[in-house]
């Protein structure tokens, strides 16, 4: 089988596959009776098996077939219908076909109308029919924009048993080229294979330079000054309003020369398209380059596509200006496409911008003209189907080109961002081939949208534009294949409408921020209440705010250095304003290191082993103290004894050793309370302590920061308790702790005000720290 046919077949199969995979497919009687219906079943059944899908046939169609099968007046039809019914019976048995509907359904066409209207809210629906009128009626459902429904589609079975569109549909697309009274003389041919003209350098006796004379068929021209040097040649100003491109020796080929001559055969004249106006020769009549209109402006790549350069070159631009820029660019591309000129290497270095209304297309000698290919390309703008191909060896199709157009538009609207950049992405080529587009549309999103302003910018685009981008870039989208991509005319109508909405203020009325280039939040939704962020002043959805601060600001904050290792730490506004925590002095690594066990010792009193953490070690050695010989419990017991406290009874028996960290009764979180309870003569399993422990283990530990808080207490509390007990204000502090903190905390827990309890407990530790550490 010839390569070309199998490729076409693959393509047709891939279309069929995309429908089987994602659409509910209905088939009409006339398609069932089509002469290629056998081929159709052969093509579709492997796909149905692969995706465990079924084709749906309304009961009315079966009834119609039964009627036909008894039609004595049309024996052929009767035979075909009988055969079809047999086939269908097998297919139903094999679970590839499902009959739906009831006897009461009206005539067949109406069935489709009803079913499609109803189910397109929840499914993508495809009807296969050969009936033009029915097809038109079904497609008309798409015109009803007010409902949030899926597109419906209609295809017919073609002679190869695959699916085709309707010819009137294609005609209509062509006829939308309104006002195209182009003189046929201006239109280049569409060719199928690449020219055989050699692309090897020609012998040129002399390459002209500055201040030398070059010749056109109409007279001589002087090269004045070099203004730019590109990959393949040098651009000079001349003594005319035009500039000259003189090829480098190695790029001056027969193919270039023939292509330029061909380009000059048609009167291509469009403001801003720097198309060759004359071929240039040296004094020996050898081809050396061409003459073209002069370009102005900044390359898209060095202006629009990098925000600081955008702001510098075009301060004061609004969204309408970029939309107008798209319209201007699209109109020029349309001029070229209408004449069968394919730009090929559409890229941001080849388009120069002066203003939204004034742009210049340069490097036009690389455009694809008839059988002369565009030999270069840029990955980001290269359609998936021609990725990794060698550009000089094939002719691009309009479908290939329309991918580049869509990419260009996307990257102007999301300034500089390629459509397939995404979180966790692979290299750009792989992303393009996979067509894993990451911007959301409706309920659909792969959740990999790039961070930052991009998702906001996206959300503020018009619905039509988002839909067009989504369907173009997302695999399986309505416009995602070479033959279905939107044409320049279709893009133009989307952008013109966008511009109209911006200019008549309708778009701004919904959300003023949609008029800005770089919105700082998602587009407003009429169902959402908005609030003004206390910190940055921007409007955000109220439920996205905490304590009146937007998410963006909550994640920002103050950056400072860890006191121990000097690493940068971020103290977020969330920590500061919502959690009300103090700035940590040290980073989390140093904190964890501090809590790691440095040594395990054996208590000289009770013989149990106990641990000394790095923090404790630093604490003792830092104060010139010896490392303790006793475990915490024994140390406290000892302290109490030497203290002669009347309440020392409760310590008379050593408590479980401190090596069982936060588990067990004497858990660290309640350390301070234990000490205070102790002061009040309450036992270790008193009601108050049990309430607090229960709170710690059932609520606090399950909070996002719970473990951290508990660990932090474990770190601080034993020290604080020992300081408390040796403090000269021991009694006073215990009373304050009880009345101001512990009692209210217990009340809060009883009321279920757990968060408040956490805060108050936090304050208590803070209070104690500030008092006791000062004393020290």
């Amino acid at each position: 089988m010839a390569n070309g046919t199998s490729k076409k077949e693959d393509y047709a199969r891939s279309i069929m596959e995309s429908y089987v995979r994602e659409w509910k497919i209905f088939i009409d009687t006339c398609s069932l009776l089509h002469f290629a219906s056998d081929k159709f079943w052969m093509n579709v059944i492997p796909l149905l098996r692969q995706y465990q899908a079924k084709i749906i046939i309304p009961l009315r169609c079966i009834e119609e077939l039964e009627k036909h099968s008894k039609n004595a007046g049309k024996p052929d039809l009767a035979k075909k219908s009988t055969d079809t019914l047999k086939i269908l019976q097998q297919l139903i048995k094999a679970d590839f076909v499902e009959i739906r509907g009831e006897k009461t359904d009206n005539f067949v066409d109406n069935v489709f109308q009803v079913v499609f209207t109803k189910f397109r809210m929840t499914h993508k629906l495809l009807l296969i029919t050969q009936d033009n009128d029915l097809a038109k009626d079904i497609l008309a459902l798409n015109g009803n924009k007010s409902v949030k429904a899926n597109q419906v589609n209609v295809k017919r079975v073609n002679q190869y048993g695959f699916l085709s569109g309707f010819s009137w549909d294609e005609d209509k697309e062509k006829s939308t080229d309104e006002g195209n009274d182009i003189n046929p003389d201006e239109i280049f041919r569409v060719c199928k294979s690449v020219t055989l003209v050699a692309d090897t350098p020609m012998k040129v006796s002399h390459i002209p330079k500055e201040q030398e004379t070059v010749y056109t068929p109409r007279g001589s021209i002087r090269l004045i000054k070099e203004v730019a040097a590109g990959g393949e040649g040098i651009i000079y100003t001349t003594n005319t309003p035009y500039v000259a491109k003189i090829y480098k020796r190695e790029n001056n080929t027969k193919r270039k020369c023939e292509k330029i001559k061909l380009m000059l055969t048609k009167p291509i004249d469009c403001e801003g398209i720097c198309f060759p106006v004359a071929a240039l020769y040296n004094s020996n009549k050898e081809f050396v380059g061409y003459l073209m209109p002069k370009a102005n402006g900044k390359e898209l790549q060095k202006s629009i596509f990098i925000k600081p350069l955008f702001m510098k070159n075009f301060p004061g631009w609004k969204k309408r200006d970029t939309v107008e820029l798209c319209v201007t660019i699209l109109e020029k591309i349309k001029y070229l496409h209408d004449r069968n000129i394919i730009m090929g290497d559409i890229n941001p270095a080849n388009i120069l911008v002066v203003s939204p209304k004034e742009v210049y297309f340069v490097d036009t000698d690389s455009y694809q003209i008839e059988e002369f290919p565009c030999p270069v390309g840029t990955n980001n703008y290269t359609a998936p189907e021609i990725q990794r191909k060698h550009f000089a060896d094939f002719l691009r199709t309009m479908g290939n080109e329309n991918f580049a157009v869509a990419t260009l538009l996307f990257m102007i609207m999301l300034p500089g961002k390629p459509p397939y950049s995404q979180q966790g992405g692979e290299d750009p080529i792989a992303n393009i081939i996979k067509m894993d587009f990451s911007y959301p549309f409706g309920e659909n999103s792969n959740k990999k949208t790039p961070d930052g302003p991009w998702r906001y910018i996206w959300s503020h685009l018009t619905y039509d534009l988002k839909k067009a981008f989504y369907n173009t870039f997302r695999k399986g989208g309505d416009n995602a294949t070479e033959s279905t991509r939107l044409s320049v005319d279709e893009w133009l109508s989307i952008f013109k409408y966008y511009l109209e909405l911006l200019d008549n203020g309708k778009f701004g009325k919904q959300d003023k921020m949609s008029e800005e280039l770089f919105p700082t939040r998602h587009k407003k939704n009429s169902k959402v209440v908005y609030a003004t962020c206390k910190l940055c002043g921007s409007e955000v959805a109220e439920n996205q705010c905490q304590n009146g601060i937007c998410r963006e600001c909550l994640n920002k904050g103050e950056v400072y250095k860890c006191k121990k290792c000097g690493k940068e730490i971020l103290f977020t506004n969330y920590q500061k304003y919502v959690r009300n925590v103090k700035k940590y002095d040290i980073c989390s690594e140093c904190f964890e290191h501090g809590n790691e066990v440095r040594m395990t010792l054996q208590c000289v009193d009770c013989g149990r082993s106990f641990e000394i953490t790095n923090n404790q070690y630093d604490y003792f050695t830092g104060r010139g103290l010896d490392i303790p010989k006793r475990c915490l419990a024994c140390r406290e017991a000892k302290k109490n004894q030497s203290y002669g406290s009347t309440y020392s009874n409760s310590y008379s028996s050593p408590r479980p050793s401190g090596s069982s960290r936060s588990s067990g009764n004497s858990g660290s979180f309640c350390f301070i309370t234990t000490a205070v309870c102790d002061y009040y003569g309450k036992s270790d399993d008193c009601q108050e302590l049990n309430i607090l422990r229960n709170y710690r283990d059932t609520w606090l530990r399950n909070q996002p920061d719970g473990e951290e808080i508990i660990a932090e207490y474990y770190n601080k509390a034993p020290l604080l308790v020992s300081l408390l007990k040796t403090s000269e204000h021991y009694e006073k502090y215990c009373e304050i702790l009880w009345t101001r903190y512990i009692q209210p905390c217990l009340d809060m827990i009883k009321k279920g005000a757990f968060e408040e309890c956490k805060q108050l407990y936090y304050k208590m530790v803070f209070f104690l720290e500030s008092k006791l550490c000062k004393e020290e």
Binding site: K307, A349, G416, D427, I429
Partner: protein
């Protein structure tokens, strides 16, 4: 220095340009003292200037510098665009040549930066590692062999382009060769650091004008201006 965490992260998110991460892993051992370190400093400074002059490269190149001298490898500059980190640091020469430690640190920095790119959805080019030394490594042996293995593996997977460059007569070209499975290491002609860094900045500029994944031909002809086999 105001190149704090937040600004760096914000730049990562806001700037859509595909990045070219370049890590300079430079020998600052005692033997580099005097004219070599002065020339190296001047070369790095000119490299910074050249990148800043090219609008595309400025927003695309991200440069980090890891030095090996004294007793340890040290990260002098972490990855950031030269807009945030505009001035070349001044390098001082002293001490030992812990090359393996430095390359490992450089590779760690590269890995971390690549993860940051991926997390934020930023495209990037295959990273570059420039390794310059005038002597032989005398750090930990196992660190050195680990560094060599990691580098070779990345280069073979096409995840890294490495430029090992020897300076002067005593540079250990054998070790440099082990770092470069694809092409032999080069020797700097005399102290032509400026020429080397001019070439490097041009290569970065050229790369920044391509698309990630596209193969950009190195200017081999230009290498003759500063290097020899």
């Amino acid at each position: 220095m105001d190149n704090n965490l937040l600004v760096r992260l914000e730049d990562l998110v806001n700037n859509p340009t595909a990045r070219v991460p370049v890590c300079l892993c430079l020998d600052t051992s005692g033997s580099m003292d005097g004219q070599p370190i002065n020339e190296l400093n001047e070369g790095v400074r000119l490299f910074y200037e050249a990148i800043k002059e090219d609008e595309t490269a400025l927003y695309s190149a991200e440069i980090s510098i890891v030095t090996f001298g004294g007793n340890n490898a040290e990260c002098i500059a972490d990855f950031a665009s030269l807009e945030l980190q505009p001035n070349a640091p001044k390098l001082l020469a002293s001490g030992m040549t812990p090359m393996g430690e430095a390359v490992n640190m450089a590779l760690d920095l590269l890995e971390r930066r690549k993860d940051e790119y991926k997390d934020r959805g930023v495209d990037y080019y295959q990273p570059w590692l420039v390794l310059m030394t005038d002597g032989e490594p005398n750090g930990d042996k196992s660190e050195l062999s680990r560094a060599i293995n990691r580098t070779v593996e990345l280069v073979n997977q096409k995840k890294l382009t490495v430029f090992p460059i020897g300076i002067g007569a005593y540079a250990d070209m054998n070790v440099l060769e082990q770092f470069s499975p694809k092409r032999p290491p080069l020797k700097l002609q005399g102290l032509k650091f400026r020429e080397f860094f001019a070439w490097l900045s041009k290569s970065v500029s050229k790369t920044s004008q391509s698309t990630p994944g596209e193969s950009v031909k190195l200017d081999v002809e230009g290498i003759k201006g500063w290097g020899e086999l």
